[in-house]
Amino acid sequence: MKIGVLALQGAFHEHIKMLNQLGVEAVEVRLPADLDGLSGLIIPGGESTTIGKLAVIYKLMEPLRAFAAKKAVWGTCAGMIFMAKDIGIDQPLLGIMDIIVERNAFGRQVDSFETALNIDGLSGDKPFPAIFIRAPRLVEAQAGTQIISTLEDGTAVAAKQGNWLVTSFHPELTGDDRMHQMFIDMAQAMNE
């Protein structure tokens, strides 16, 4: 099984390293042809405006939407923004998931934080070490979207809808590979 990581800008190497550690081959995706033969795709953290503009220029928007219709896709941070239907401001979005997302929802970099989260469906008892960097939050999700983690104040920070996964935080910056294993399992299930 091969999983792609959108490599237009951002923390794509970190995801590739994590996938490799779990024994999965990972491929950098920069052009539409790079999607061929992949079983899943991760859209990494980075600047969502940069990623969106480059996706438009290199004609990736429709191929990414077509890919997402059949395969597992996971967006972390900027990736979650890029997958959302609506973020309240005008920038290129894939709009594949029925969620409304707010960018920089916790403030600027000086407000970035680490915390431990309970996540539904995650293996093991230990909470997950979550790193939030100028992070977005889920404002609203349509029926059919399952919120799988919230902060203590109820803010939704991770969700699943069919073969799609989004997280406000950055599992690729931690030493904990359980979220990546969860996504690999989702990609595997779509392939069967």
Binding site: L8, V110, N118, E152
Partner: protein, 304 residues
Amino acid sequence: MSDVNGSNGSTGGVGSFKVKAGLAQMLKGGVIMDVVTPEQAVIAEEAGACAVMALERVPADIRRDGGVARMSDPDMIKGIIEAVSIPVMAKARIGHFVEAQILEAIGVDYIDESEVLTPADEEYHIYKHDYKVPFVCGCRNLGEALRRIGEGAAMIRTKGEAGTGDVVHAVWHARTVLSDIRKLQGMPTEEVMTFAKEIGAPFELVMQTRELGRLPVVNFAAGGIATPADAALLMQIGVDGVFVGSGIFKSGDPAKRARAIVEATTHYNNPEILAKVSENLGEAMVGINVSSLPTEEQLSTRGW
């Protein structure tokens, strides 16, 4: 690096080294552009910059004007923060920890303790662990990079020679850091302490670099990058991203050149795309040949 602890909350671990270094990881593969007005910041964001550096004068003008170069007016930086959604960086003078306190107070996302400004201290840099806001610092070699990381820098950039449009020192400094790391990895363990002493770097960070095979934080290139090919050159040499200072807004068609440099940084390994984005960019900035600059006019010699 701090530990993650506590149950689900929203305020734990604010300003930890992990979140400071983490923002730099989100900038990787991207271009950080110098801007002097909110209008330029919008052009940079539109072109796909992953962050902007807010300053009053780009390095080429600082070089031309001479005199003392200081932190920019906080009101001008706030105007740029309000104009864009991407991270905003700003420069403090080397060792000027009060300028850093001011920049943290107005909410910049990264502070560049920069040799482009006139140093405020000729012996000591800022102790950067004391801040919630992350710092990026310049270096010319591995020892300088690890001293800055030891002081708390969460991101490194090789210095190059700012305001010249001549890429030669950017290449030299990036190559020096990378070849220092290769040398470190090739030596037996018993030689590492003496190597650390020779380069003037903390032993633990030298050992960490040896294990990782790279700097422990993100490393961008800076100083003299003026064309898409320059950006791709540095990316192929092995840096994580690029700063472009005077190269964009001192050129004939800033918006077009900015976008071309962004595309070249993403597709740095694809010569067909590099050829295409390099076409018809208009005038590049007027360059200064670095080898014609006397040492005392080379900004990269500032930093200790």
